[in-house]
Symmetry: C2
Amino acid sequence: MRTRPLKVALLGCGVVGSEVTRIMTTHADDLAQRIGAPVELAGVAVRRPSKVREGIDPSLVTTDATALVKRGDIDVVVEVIGGIEPARSLITTAFEHGASVVSANKALLAQDGAALHAAAEEHGRDLYYEAAVAGAIPLIRPLRESLAGDKVNRVLGIVNGTTNFILDKMDSTGAGYQEALDEATALGYAEADPTADVEGFDAAAKAAILAGIAFHTRVRLDDVYREGMAEVTAADFRSAKEMGCTIKLLAICERAADGESVTARVHPAMIPLTHPLASVRGAYNAVFVESDAAGQLMFYGPGAGGAPTASAVLGDLVAVCRNRLNGATGPGESSYAALPVSPMGEVVTRYHISLDVADKPGVLAQVATVFAEHGVSIDTVRQQGKDGEASLVVVTHRASDASLTGTVEALRKLDTVRGVASIMRVEGE
Amino acid sequence: MRTRPLKVALLGCGVVGSEVTRIMTTHADDLAQRIGAPVELAGVAVRRPSKVREGIDPSLVTTDATALVKRGDIDVVVEVIGGIEPARSLITTAFEHGASVVSANKALLAQDGAALHAAAEEHGRDLYYEAAVAGAIPLIRPLRESLAGDKVNRVLGIVNGTTNFILDKMDSTGAGYQEALDEATALGYAEADPTADVEGFDAAAKAAILAGIAFHTRVRLDDVYREGMAEVTAADFRSAKEMGCTIKLLAICERAADGESVTARVHPAMIPLTHPLASVRGAYNAVFVESDAAGQLMFYGPGAGGAPTASAVLGDLVAVCRNRLNGATGPGESSYAALPVSPMGEVVTRYHISLDVADKPGVLAQVATVFAEHGVSIDTVRQQGKDGEASLVVVTHRASDASLTGTVEALRKLDTVRGVASIMRVEGE
Ligand SMILES: NC(=O)c1ccc[n+]([C@@H]2O[C@H](COP(=O)([O-])OP(=O)(O)OC[C@H]3O[C@@H](n4cnc5c(N)ncnc54)[C@H](OP(=O)(O)O)[C@@H]3O)[C@@H](O)[C@H]2O)c1
Ligand SMILES: NC(=O)c1ccc[n+]([C@@H]2O[C@H](COP(=O)([O-])OP(=O)(O)OC[C@H]3O[C@@H](n4cnc5c(N)ncnc54)[C@H](OP(=O)(O)O)[C@@H]3O)[C@@H](O)[C@H]2O)c1
């Protein structure tokens, strides 16, 4: 074993960073054995230098992150600040000064992954980010390495713990969205400003990263269709139950049937209770991967939290350090397939539509005609009426999102349709 | 991209090997892109050279596997023959002649993993074997790489599809063991000689491999306690149901509470229906991994079959080829922790024991005294009697296997105990 230590600079020492330093200290001997050389914490960049940080030598703490990554003797920079800037500039500077980088920053990777990978490659360094998607769950490495000899057709998963906690609450207690969100906030599962989670921005960033790796194609955050979960109601859950389903916020990355294009999207969807994702409770994450040869694989575990995320960061740190000692780099960006990313209109799936209609004869016939005219074939219809008001619940066969949108527009124009109470996609069948 | 191809020698072209060649052919362009150089099938060693093998150039086929691995121009040898010899000698010879090796051979790795790893290291080559455990499910790589910065405490899994199929049948239909086995054989899930599966040898080999990697400790096949599933009865399933449990054949690798020793075992066990492993159906495999920082992770998928296993082989092939182009090797054996492997007697778990007893007053007191004398604390007792015969069902708190064995020996000596109908461990709580 080499005795000269590898030097690690930590950028950020919050929820994740503090756990990274804790494990680096308590597991120092194991890390050294697994890497083949000791690792030394060479500096810790933070915003508030005077904050007491347990177990960290105060002389290592600095507010000058740029100077730290420019030192030139740093082997690996661990970026756990989050956000776009200064994280992006710091990572680029780190590569320029000879360091490899481990990051947990999904927002940055989803937005600027291609440029960062290019910088890493230009300088012959590694960029690893297992922790950016689904916390502790090994997902990037299995997709990038274990399935490197296979053809992935679909990635379908629950990749945001906050929204899963909220939906699980609504499902199990019958609570409405706001009530469940308040509970999630009180218990620390949701942040004070929950926008990134509930509006699906966080999941969309992860979908972009997963789709890029799964399909060997650059998928930018803007390519991901995104619908949040704030519109999901207790009534939707009752409809889902009647169909033997529950509702989850899913990230779905798919290769088109002809294999020539891909799509990536995040939205709430009904899935059958028999689907393994249906039983993913609380803040847990789980991701289904379907490939030609391997078939269906599922990966399940804690999608966030300081220690689980640090576990993923440290796995990457060990790999990057080993590569460094080997004078090699791990697999970089793989975007050779360069498949077009199709817009949401081309996504094909099933739909559950609730309509408020006039309770008089001929309404069903009118509605059915609209569906038929738009090429959307109906699987089941359920009609419920009372006091001149009625509701129609239509579940379709597979149809394109564009056809469904056309159908709904036409339905809204019918005199007999008072309103479209809800539209929800049905997945996982 | 390098244009000169990497040369691959395939040893064995049966269920797995034929799928490896099929994917190598159909995905040749993708593999070249992902590796950075084309891969060429340089030779295929089989037993029966005259057998027609679809898609394989007959001029590549040979019965002289030794000559093939000695050619000197082979970059990677893929061993999918199975069994100990000639596979072991061929792998060693391959290293001696400069090739890296990908294998799916759990029996060989469990028995001689240490020697094979040493040979790989001596010659600066890779030995990869993701396919040896749980087919397509990425498990070796996540344990060895993703969790390299974490401390694994427990691996608990269903790693044999044949036995899971049989137990699932017994559970869902109430069938006896023989009836379920016959169905598994008729459907091709069990081999003509099912010994390796039903007696737990296959699962024990996988447990040895998993424990070795998880605990950075050499665990030999002989270190694994093994109990088959042929004794599991329909009555056991009824008892399990009464407890809200089902029965699975589990491979369990554990670090002792003090962290200073490990155990590895394979046996049928009751697990609560609420445990995610309880809902693993048919021939699927699933493995739970518990670690300090990551918490509980689960990996699920097809544990066998030609295409899924080939997917894992090809993932390794890509990794080994990349290493080769980098002039590097991946992580080798990690056995630095060298923890002692404790015997079964030191395993601590819970037990479900059914006793046939005389239906007279005082029996329960006698039985309870025996448990107490051996330090095994009782959680629940259920007593059922009719016509002078009675049964006692005891579920214990956690106790060592040695204490339980002592308890059962003493119980057998009681006049009032007519027989011990069944003893089953209770896991996953
Ligand atoms: N938390 C999770 O469960 C989780 C899960 C997966 C991925 N991630 C990702 O991990 C990253 C970090 O998340 P976190 O939860 O640990 O965040 P956090 O608790 O807010 O910590 C951020 C850290 O960065 C420091 N910092 C902020 N701006 C800085 C600047 N300009 N220069 C230097 N340091 C600066 C902060 O310093 P002070 O300590 O002085 O404020 C703090 O130590 C994010 O990319 C996040 O998306 C987090
Ligand atoms: N099948 C699965 O689902 C699965 C799953 C995981 C792991 N594995 C592992 O994968 C390996 C292969 O399994 P398999 O199911 O593919 O076995 P298989 O169908 O029996 O194929 C064995 C192959 O090896 C060839 N062979 C046998 N003895 C040989 C010798 N002395 N020299 C050269 N070739 C020889 C056979 O040649 P002929 O074709 O001429 O008979 C055949 O092509 C085993 O280690 C197994 O444990 C299998």
